[in-house]
Amino acid sequence: MMKGLCFNRKHLCIPYAAFLILFVIAPLIVIFYYAFTNGQGNFTFDNFVNFFTNTNTIGTLLYGFAVAIVTTLVCLIIAYPTAYILARSKFKKKYVLLLLFILPMWINFTLRITALKEILSVLEGNISAYPFLNSVIGMTYDFLPFMILPLYTSLLKLDNSLLEAASDLGANKFTVFLRVTLPLSVPGIVSGVTMVLLPSMTNYVVLDMLYNSTFIPGSLIFSYFSAYDWNNGSLISLVLLIIVFIVTLVTNRFSDNEKDKRVAIL
């Protein structure tokens, strides 16, 4: 009786498991296949070799890294003090204040970037003249809430008695921050960084909308897609996939068992 019953409940996951295999796992295998074949379906390393010997694609990859790293740093520099002030303040309803900072998360990003574009045009005149600066501003504007939220949650959990203990033992404020607060907020920093770093390497729409003529890896996929070049497009996807994989491996070591922060907030 018991066995038949467990059997019954377990079966509920079959549709989802099948769905994952068909539409999550299979597409990745297909990308792998396309990345190592040519237009005629023959096995080849050409796409791979071309990618790493072509100065354009390598340049785009490096430029993408530069945009992503600078954006992540800028987000961190803006978000850390913000999250720190919000989490440590004695304001009664600080949750409401936090909502003000992460509210944009729920507004369509293309509309927000439209708004930013209008402001930048007023400030800069010809916005296509500052491609790198505008990429960083655009990405920061888009992803800032995703950095503030995980930092806030990890700083909120901070045990006050640890800070008091440190200052009782003679540490000054700066030392307390450097030796206690900062190390304890590492999980928040790590999950914020992953949520900003990867999207800012691929979100080419932000660049496009700011009349940017520079390319990041995401733009390459789109241009291959528009040219019906599935093989090279797959190779870039594969490269991005490997980067995602490496970042996930590294960050899993620091992770806090907190899955996506957007789940937590709703």
Partner: protein, 268 residues
Amino acid sequence: MKKYLKVIWLAVVLLFIYIPILVLAVYSLTEATVVGGAMGGFSFENYINLFKNEELRNMIFGTILLALVCACISTVLAAFGAIGTYYSRKLTKTLINTANQIPVVNADIVTGFSLCILMIVMLRVSKDTYIPLGIGHIVLTTPFVYLSILPKLKQMDNSLYEAALDLGATPAQALFKVVLPQLIPGILSGFMLAVTLSLDDYFITTYTKPSTFDTISTYVVNATKGSQTEVKTALWALSTLIFLIVIVVVVVMNVTSSKKKEAKREKI
């Protein structure tokens, strides 16, 4: 002094976040066609155009319909998936949880492009059937719904299910009348999350949509490249409307959830 600095810092960050949105909101209520230019008089023209222009109207309702349909399907898929996985062997659990993480950590553009290759290039499913688009949005949203149901399953009181069986309920009845109701908060927040993710998506839509169909995201991106002033200023109105709706929804959800918490506290 230090307190002033803190307030000033927060204010500056808030200004960075909200100035573009608010300036656009002000301009959406005028006759102006360029931000920073002459405002002209006060006018609701942009808001009227938003609903009078058939193309815009279809685009907005199409986006909402797509989000709702996909959110319903992904919520059902994720709810049963999460329940089934919860009672499965450890290996099955690990496999499904790992596969579930893939679309969460993966770049949307890679998810979209790979689905396009699989379905449109390899299997030759026509884009015009909306099947690739629907599946794309379900792939995007289901893992997040799954993740928001999982904690509720862990918090659930297992003895209630056993008690229902002892009292004569069939396993199916126990599942629907005892287990499922305990998951409802997770299911609802998962559904909301699915709707917002689908509404916000650009990349998966671009790679899977029929060429004649546009969601808000793809439409806005095309409109910024075009030069139709009427459409451009109507989108300012749309941005403002969405901003207001988000504020109302977030406030209402938080008021109700804090009321619930208070009610719980009183009970205890």
